[in-house]
Subunit: 367 residues, 2 copies
């Protein structure tokens, strides 16, 4: 594999960095971005790092009309000794290509894309926040840019990576969330786009998410679109339930995302000798365990919050309080372990973390 | 209702117009476009007609990541005596707002939007082709432009209208199409986005459409996502079947588009005294009618092709030839009547057509 050299055009006007206590999520962007173009004749070409800037887009670009786009989300962490660590980035780039296959988007060279991502993070390394719980959120995405209104795959694309310093998900310590079990709206269905990380899946959730918020719930738990019975996932998290000593999570069925945190949690549990089972889980089953007293803990898993304990479910106006609304022991242990590995404080037995070499950059041509 | 005056900035470099014989669909765009902005504080504001140009978009704009966008499609026709007619444009703007409600997009003033659309068409009136079957395709759309990666409705939007002169769908006369009945992929499911005209629904069809094309079929007929049995719609058309003297079309069930051509066909059939029934239709039912010899005709309806006779279906490798693969009498009559009304050649008993007043424009401020 030959990695094409990336042209780097550095900004001449560095932005002021936001207050690390007030970062929020995805609101601030760094000084640079990565762009690469695709055309039928040239394939993926002209990888470049440029100052963060608006992109110029034809109003007929297919992404705006037919949603041909895919994305990823991962984080870079700064360790206390100043190293920069990425959590399983190769998994994200592999999933990006899986999503692309479903959307008819030409595959990226995953190794070259990872190299680009690392170089971009290195260029904007001074943007990685250091406060506990903060990190640099990395958003790689591909958009269809051909200006043509026929409903077919685009002939032109752009692969872009942008970076956003983000705050701690839990500024006051890990706190259980209240989740609304959605019975009216459906996110995705088998045969649809559910297992791809693509715009349409999130568009379809906006309305449900808003309604849940109005009722005082922070996110929505999706049920399957066919039977409206089987548990799928939460807004942007996979979901786990500990019942009678065993941990259960919905099996990958084609309509939910194959979460990288999910996979990592399964590996951790297996290592710890805690039984973990991927299977079809009905919402009735969870409520039944709640009544019987065998539902011990529930939590969501995802890049943004890592582990999000669930303190309450509301399904058709039946409230189910879990672990007295407090964070369970296993949830806390998983959170501490995973965030510990990510921040370089805890041993990394699976070699999940990839260090970004900032020195490597010095050899890149500056333009 | 007060219609805010639209600022008009005319191009100083008119483009060369494409050959009317080679227009294709959605490949050429006119000299101007309409834009209006939305912000939480100002609502919809600053309506303007400007030279057709790329839009400048933050790479974090929500439309690129979460698909918060809606669109419409309608046509302007030039009559032989030089008038410009729109087909039921108020229906499209009303549907745009219906779609917007599902996507959490703030509503447009439909009357003002129609006025904007008419003014834009008037400004680019010399782009409306006059060859038989050609027209000016009008694409109004709304995109979420706030640069923020949180998954919630945008605080900023743009409403844009672009125009594209399009060729005849049938350069060699109306011809039946071969349609592939999709059993693997699903377009939309009840509770999802199916009844909205929004990007994600089309993204989800790209893969199926490509596979169908490879097998020699021009479009896909979608089955419902729950039972994979009930007929929904074709790619970008609603679908009708004439069986034993009665015309059937799938009832609006929340997962298909409420097509404006569909509604117009139902009105025409009722006026002609031909029984027409909206109901749940299974694919087995159609094949059974085919075997019994009571399936007389099938056709798709939509803005692009108006009426598209269906000559063959392929469902799980079972081919069903309809009306010997030739255009049926009713399909032909509907096509002739509707295109006749649209082009101003046939009486318009329902007052569907709206004339664009090119004079009105003279009073607009030129900038
Ligand atoms: C729909 C959905 N499910 C699950 C997840 C969790 O995936 P991961 O652990 O890879 O962040 C995400 C977020 O990425 C998501 O958007
Ligand atoms: C999914 C879908 N169904 C049906 C139609 C037909 O609708 P109309 O007759 O309003 O063009 C279209 C095209 O607009 C469409 O995109």
């Amino acid at each position: 594999m030959t990695i094409r050299p990336i042209e780097i055009q550095r900004t001449t006007a560095k932005k002021q960095k936001p207050d690390q206590q007030q970062l929020g999520f995805g609101l601030h962007f760094t000084d640079h971005m990565f762009i690469m173009d695709y055309s039928l004749t040239n394939g993926w070409h002209q990888p470049r790092i440029v100052p963060y800037q608006p992109i110029s887009m034809d109003p007929a670009a297919k992404v705006l009309h037919y949603g041909q786009t895919i994305f990823e989300g991962l984080k870079a962490y700064k360790t206390s000794d100043g190293r920069i660590l990425l959590f399983r980035p190769e998994k994200n780039l592999h999933r990006l290509n899986n999503s692309g296959r479903r959307l008819g988007i030409p595959p990226l060279d995953e190794e070259a894309a990872l190299d680009a991502l690392q170089q971009l993070v290195a260029v904007d390394a001074d943007w990685i926040p250091s406060e506990p719980g903060t990190s640099l959120y990395i958003r790689p995405f591909v958009i269809a840019t051909q200006p043509a209104l026929g409903v077919d795959p685009s002939a032109h694309y752009q692969f872009i990576i942008i970076l956003s310093p983000v705050g701690s998900y839990y500024p006051e310590g890990v706190n259980p969330v209240k989740i609304y079990v959605e019975s009216h709206y459906v996110r995705a269905v088998k045969g649809g786009l559910g297992e791809a990380k693509t715009a349409g899946n999130y568009a379809s959730g906006l309305k449900a998410q808003e309604a849940a918020k109005e009722k005082g719930y922070s996110q929505v738990l999706w049920l399957d679109g066919v039977h409206r019975t089987y548990i799928e996932e939460v807004g942007s998290m996979n979901v786990f339930f500990k019942m009678d000593g065993t941990v259960y999570t919905p099996a990958l069925n084609g309509s939910i995302l194959d979460g990288i945190t999910r996979g990592s949690i399964i590996q951790l549990l297996q290592k710890w000798g805690i039984p973990v089972v991927e299977k079809t889980i009905s919402i009735e089953e969870i409520y039944e365990a709640g009544r019987k007293g065998t539902l011990e803990e529930a939590f969501g898993t995802g890049t943004a919050a890592v582990i999000s304990p669930i303190g309450e479910l509301n399904w058709q106006d039946n409230k189910l309080v879990i672990h007295e609304g407090r964070t369970g022991e296993l949830s806390a242990k998983l959170y501490d372990t995973l965030t510990g590995i990510q921040s370089g404080k805890v041993e990394d037995p699976f070699q999940w973390m990839v260090e970004v070499e900032t020195r490597k950059l010095d050899s890149s041509p500056l333009v």
